[in-house]
């Protein structure tokens, strides 16, 4: 598989069929997914429940083996263990050890990276502070609330200062301030040159932080591209000026009329991601199996 250095993740025809105990196909969770994620970007995976987002992430991590197709992540196959040195993963539900407290958790995962004790201690302190669990760092995780568990999950994903961070619904369960912080964190990571892949249902968040997105439905890729391009409506031209006096406005309208156009709205020209998302999913339901191409492109 050709991987250029700026492509952190490349998938080609990635397909996953879950099988039952006897090896009979049960669910086709992902069908022929081909995407690539570039170094330094924030990539969003969107889609309704059960559309295959988590499956995709697990395939990337080698937790699942593809039924067909190929994955390359940081230039290595998904099953290569050494790629994990530079990856951080926040699972959908926090699969952590409930009998450890926050400090022990981070220390344990730090040890798995063979980090020296001093670095481990320092990182643990920093991360606990960052996710604001200082007050609860000595309590066992089984006593944590959902949001607190998400926070410690995020901290463990960042313990090795990874280059590529995979976040499965990072904001689920977080309070508004928590999600705000999460967004800031993602932008901060991007500024430091890290690559972030995230799944989310909070479209406003995705719209704010993601450079590019893919929308999945029923395991199929429906939309794939830059957020700005996808949301730009080519049928509309937006003119932004300083405030026009009414007579100038009339003249502009006259000019437009001469060219057969008319003013539709004097405001807010881009669609929201929410509209795109809903449209995509509706279209996909109407014409199953087809890639939905937004009218603009």
């Amino acid at each position: 598989m050709s991987t250029s250095p700026e492509n952190v993740i490349v998938t080609r025809n990635l397909t996953k069929t879950y099988r039952d105990f006897w090896g009979r196909p049960k669910v086709k969770a992902l069908n022929s997914l081909s995407i690539d994620v570039k170094r330094g970007e924030v990539f969003g995976l969107l889609g309704p429940n059960g559309s295959g987002k988590t499956t995709t992430l697990k395939l990337l991590l080698g937790l699942l083996f593809p039924t067909d197709g190929e994955v390359s992540i940081l230039g290595r196959p998904a099953t290569d263990v050494s790629k994990n040195e530079k990856i951080g993963y926040l699972p959908e539900e926090s699969y952590l050890y409930r009998f450890l407290n926050a400090e022990e958790t981070l220390d344990f995962y730090g040890r798995l990276f063979d980090m020296p004790a001093s670095v481990r201690k320092e990182r643990t302190r920093e991360l606990i502070k960052m996710v604001q669990l200082d007050h609860a760092k000595r309590r066992q995780l089984k006593e944590y609330s959902k949001g607190m568990t998400r926070r410690i999950g995020l901290a463990q994903a960042l313990i090795n200062d990874p280059e590529l961070i995979l976040l499965d619904e990072p904001t689920s369960g977080l309070d508004p301030i928590g999600s705000r912080d999460m967004k800031d964190l993602i932008i901060g990571l991007k500024e430091r040159g890290k690559t972030v892949v995230m799944c989310s249902h909070l479209l406003a968040d995705v719209q704010d932080v993601c450079d590019r997105i893919a929308i999945l439905d029923g395991g199929e890729l429906k939309v794939f591209g830059r957020v700005q391009d996808l949301l730009k409506d080519q049928g509309v031209t937006q003119i932004k000026t300083s405030k026009l006096p009414p007579e100038a406005m009339k003249e502009v309208e006259a000019v437009l009329q001469k060219h057969g156009s008319k003013v539709m709205e004097v405001d807010n020209p881009t669609a929201t991601l929410e509209e795109l998302f809903i449209k995509t999913v509706r279209e996909s339901a109407a014409r199953p199996g087809q890639r939905y191409i937004p009218p603009s492109n």
Binding site: L61, L63, I87, Y95, Y109, D114
Partner: protein, 554 residues
């Protein structure tokens, strides 16, 4: 006070050879089957994947990080501690508190009492630690996978064998800690049970010899030209053979490496546990009379010793030096058959080999002997040494169980893993002798010792044709084919036998309880070899299972 089995030195090289052969066969079979399946499934790329897996094994194991293994081990330990799995061991302490009430008081026979206490302690420790640590090992990984906590671990740079090894080391740590604690409790308990007799609690160190017999005519071969054996007095098991009184019949032990420096204060002590078999009553409480003759096979010096009475069911300790001391100052005085005075060190033990001939002097009575029934007693070791070695044997068995449990957990769910481990343990514990008999190398190779009507097919042929086992089947092509197929079966059985470790061998109770030291070459070495021999392949199986397993698709 006697061993009912024969502690023979372990043949390490021979064991290694068998191990190598079995491993090769298993690997070849596994490779063949896996290759075929993968080829059928995905053609040439399937084969490539198999090769990839194999080279990956070597690469992965070379990159094992001890620190990660340690981190995982500590984690395993902590998990067990936090989940309070170890409270079970409190039961142990309670058991001891009350056991004293139920143990029979054996004031009249301190030997017996000590034996009872020691066996009780070692058995209790075994049967308490094995199930608990075994269960922990069988459930550890499957639970980790079920709760998906292992998934976060495998997204870190952790290799699969590190997970397997980390688990094993962690559980072994638990096992070791528990063994040390309950072992100490047990030791203190034994000491407190037998305060006045504690001097007798010791660890005897024997030198065993090779045993042969002379017929009642004093010949080393019988009429059929077979090697002479003792008389079978009608026991079904022929562990002991009997020497007839007042005849030329002798039992002769040959000891190697007997050296004055190794002896206890320069004293030659013979310890025996012969059986007496009476053909007529005589005086009922009269013990049988026996006599030792020391022979140096190198220079032919023969020294008949003072006679002895054989006390049954007890240790008979015959101190050659004390019993044959006369003259001024109780000096040892040995006379050879011609009546010349000889020196123990210079004449009798010269060359390091010593034959001890045993004769029964009571006419018409028999004395029964097996190889471990006579030994030269070297200086004792402390009882704690033998006890510690006994615990070490238990630890080795624990290691086997832990590795087996962790391996099963790599591809099975908790309950099934427990069942598999339990099954292999029980087969290895209960029916190893049976498998051994069915397939012992002797049976395969030596036609004289072959079971009559042996193989499956041959038996099927004999049954309807009413051919008794004594009659040989006629020698024709059909019969040869039948024999050939039967041989394959028996060889397969021979192979299967080696897949089930003999768990009985780890029980050192017989040594410790009978106040023997646990020998290195007859007990610890084979135990260690068995443990390593089984655990290495098991770890590799676990690694493969975990590697090829799609953790997420449960």
């Amino acid at each position: 006070m006697q061993l009912s089995f024969d502690p023979r030195p372990f043949d390490l090289l021979g064991g290694l050879k068998v191990w190598g052969v079995v491993c090769l066969v298993v690997v070849a079979l596994a490779w063949g089957i896996a290759g075929l399946l993968m080829f059928l499934q995905s053609g040439a790329p399937g084969l490539a994947r198999l090769i990839d897996l194999t080279t990956g094994l070597i690469r992965d194991f070379l990159q094992t990080s001890p620190r990660r293994v340690w981190a995982l081990a500590v984690h395993t330990f902590r998990e067990a501690a936090r989940k309070r799995a170890l409270w079970v061991f409190a039961v142990f302490a309670v058991l001891f508190l009350f056991a004293g009430w139920f143990m029979p008081e054996l004031k009249q026979s301190p030997d017996m009492a000590i034996r009872n206490y020691v066996s009780f302690v070692l058995r209790t420790i075994t049967w308490l630690t094995i199930p608990v640590v075994g269960l922990l090992a069988c459930w550890g990984l499957p639970e980790d996978i079920r709760l998906r906590s292992l998934h976060t671990v495998v997204t870190k740079p952790v290799r699969r064998q590190e997970i397997v090894l980390g688990r094993i080391v962690g559980f072994l740590g638990i096992g070791l800690l528990v063994l040390l604690i309950v072992g100490s409790v047990g030791y203190v308990w034994i000491v407190r049970q037998v305060p006045e007799n504690f001097g007798q609690v010791t660890a005897r160190v024997p030198i065993y010899g090779e045993l042969r017999f002379l017929t009642r005519e004093g010949k080393s071969e019988d009429e059929q030209g077979m090697e002479a054996s003792g008389v079978n007095v009608g026991d079904e098991a022929i562990f002991r053979q009997f020497v007839e009184g007042n005849t030329q019949a002798r039992a002769i032990w040959r000891f190697e490496g007997v050296d004055m420096n190794r002896l206890q204060n320069g004293q030659l002590i013979l310890e025996s546990t012969f059986q007496s078999f009476r053909t007529h009553k005589g005086k009922v409480d009269q013990e049988l009379l026996g006599q030792f003759t020391l022979v140096n096979p190198k220079n032919g010096v023969r020294v008949p010793l003072q006679t002895f009475f054989n006390r049954e069911f007890r240790r008979n300790s015959y101190n050659v030096t004390e019993r044959n001391s006369r003259g001024e100052g109780g000096k040892l005085e040995l006379k050879d058959e011609q009546g010349r005075t000889v020196d123990l060190a210079k004449d009798v033990l010269d060359g390091g080999q010593l034959d001890v001939e045993v004769a029964c002097l009571s006419p018409g009575q028999f004395m029964g002997m097996a190889r471990p029934d006579l030994f030269i007693r070297l200086p004792d070791r402390a009882f704690l040494t033998a006890y510690g070695k006994g615990l070490f044997s238990i630890f080795l068995m624990l290691t086997m169980i832990v590795v087996l449990g962790v391996m099963s957990g790599c591809f099975l769910k908790g309950p099934v893993a427990t069942m598999l481990t339990g099954f292999i343990f029980l087969v290895g514990r209960l029916s190893h002798d049976f498998l051994q008999q069915l397939t012992s190398d002797k049976l395969l190779d030596n036609p004289k010792l072959q079971m009559r009507g042996r193989g499956l097919l041959e038996s099927l042929y004999r049954l309807p044709t009413h051919l008794g086992p004594q009659i040989e089947v006629e020698d024709n092509t059909t019969q040869r084919v039948i024999k050939a197929i039967d041989n394959i079966e028996l060889n397969a059985l021979w192979g299967v036998k080696y897949l089930f470790p003999d768990f009985t061998q780890f029980d050192a109770t017989a040594f410790v309880a009978n106040s023997f030291d646990v020998p290195w070459d007859a007990a610890l070495l084979p135990n260690l070899a068995t443990t390593i021999g089984f655990c290495v392949p098991w770890i590799i199986v676990g690694y493969f299972a975990l590697k090829c397993r799609e953790l997420e698709a449960k």
